[in-house]
């Protein structure tokens, strides 16, 4: 019985040492980036609102624009 009380007390005491999850943020309503913009500067080649298309487009752009080993092969 004593052991149970001590264990419970230890668990309760240690619970205070845990860090609170930092989920509270002042802003949570940002529009996802893959939704695109309404301006005229969108890069063609992907579909606004399609996350997979947007991600693939950025990966291709990164490989084409910043990996010169692709060009010198």
């Amino acid at each position: 019985m004593m052991r149970l009380v001590l264990t419970t007390a230890a668990v309760l005491a240690l619970a205070a040492c845990g860090e609170k999850p930092q989920t509270a943020a002042g802003v949570k309503s940002d529009i996802p980036l893959f939704q695109g913009t309404s301006n005229a500067y969108n890069d063609p080649g992907w579909k606004a609102g399609d996350k997979t298309s947007w991600e693939q487009h950025l990966k291709t752009r990164l490989q084409n624009g910043q990996n010169e080993y692709n060009r010198v092969k």
């Binding site: 930092q22 509270a24 943020a25 002042g26 802003v27 949570k28 309503s29 940002d30 529009i31 996802p32 980036l33 893959f34 939704q35 695109g36 913009t37 309404s38 301006n39 500067y41 969108n42 890069d43 063609p44 080649g45 992907w46 947007w54 991600e55 487009h57 950025l58 990966k59 752009r61 990164l62 490989q63 624009g65 910043q66 990996n67 010169e68 080993y69």
Partner: protein
């Protein structure tokens, strides 16, 4: 998608400050505020190294942890952004950041410190993507336009890489393997006809 990440290759950076200029132009950053800057170690000494530094969009961002008004948030792509309507300009983030990323415009009366400004990974802020309001507060939202940060895309030597962390790591790994070290550095075999340099692994000399 993996997280968006920056990496600067110190072997390639030539301290041209093209990234700084591109950032200031693209985002119309006010005078006195530098979202990105080039730091040179052992400046003037043979073997000096330069790297381009801005907000690194940390996984466990210290600025986010210390902000008393919770103005920071993180996008699904791991980009750390903030809301200037919530920021009170206290400067705690500036003390917490190991990269010196948070900047404060001081054009107000009596040197009053304005709202914090920092690199957004060219992803704007909480306003509508690509809107005028977003541009005036945070600059261009290039990610929502299907583009990558202007600093990396403008880098003349491709020292600064930005984008999907997996692809960035892949490009960097390939680069290091290809260029080798010392006399194996990329281009030497081509330029000077060295027998041991510039040959692909397993290639004929």
């Amino acid at each position: 998608m993996a997280r968006m990440k920056f990496v600067c290759d110190a072997e390639r950076c030539i301290e041209c400050n093209g990234c700084v200029t591109a950032c200031k132009n693209e985002n119309e950053v006010p005078w006195g505020v530098n979202r990105r800057r080039v730091v040179t170690l052992n400046d003037g000494v043979p073997g000096e190294k330069s790297i381009s530094v801005a907000c690194m969009h940390c996984s466990d961002a210290p600025c986010m942890a210390v902000c008393p008004v919770n103005c920071f948030y993180r996008t699904d792509e791991g980009v750390v952004l903030h809301d200037k309507d919530v920021c009170i300009g206290c400067g705690y983030c500036s003390y917490a950041c190991p990269f010196g990323a948070p900047q404060f415009p001081s054009s107000g009366t009596f040197g009053v410190r304005g709202k914090m400004d920092k690199c957004t990974f060219c992803a704007g802020g909480p306003e509508d993507n690509g809107s005028q309001a977003e541009f005036e507060k945070y600059g261009r939202n290039r990610l929502a336009e299907g583009k990558l940060p202007a600093c990396a895309e403008m880098c003349s030597t491709k020292a600064l890489l930005a984008g999907d962390g997996d692809v960035v790591a892949d490009i960097f790994r390939n680069r290091v393997v290809q260029r080798g070290k010392g006399a194996e550095v990329w281009g030497w075999g081509t330029a000077y006809g060295s027998k041991q340099a510039g040959q692909p692994p397993g290639g004929k000399s």
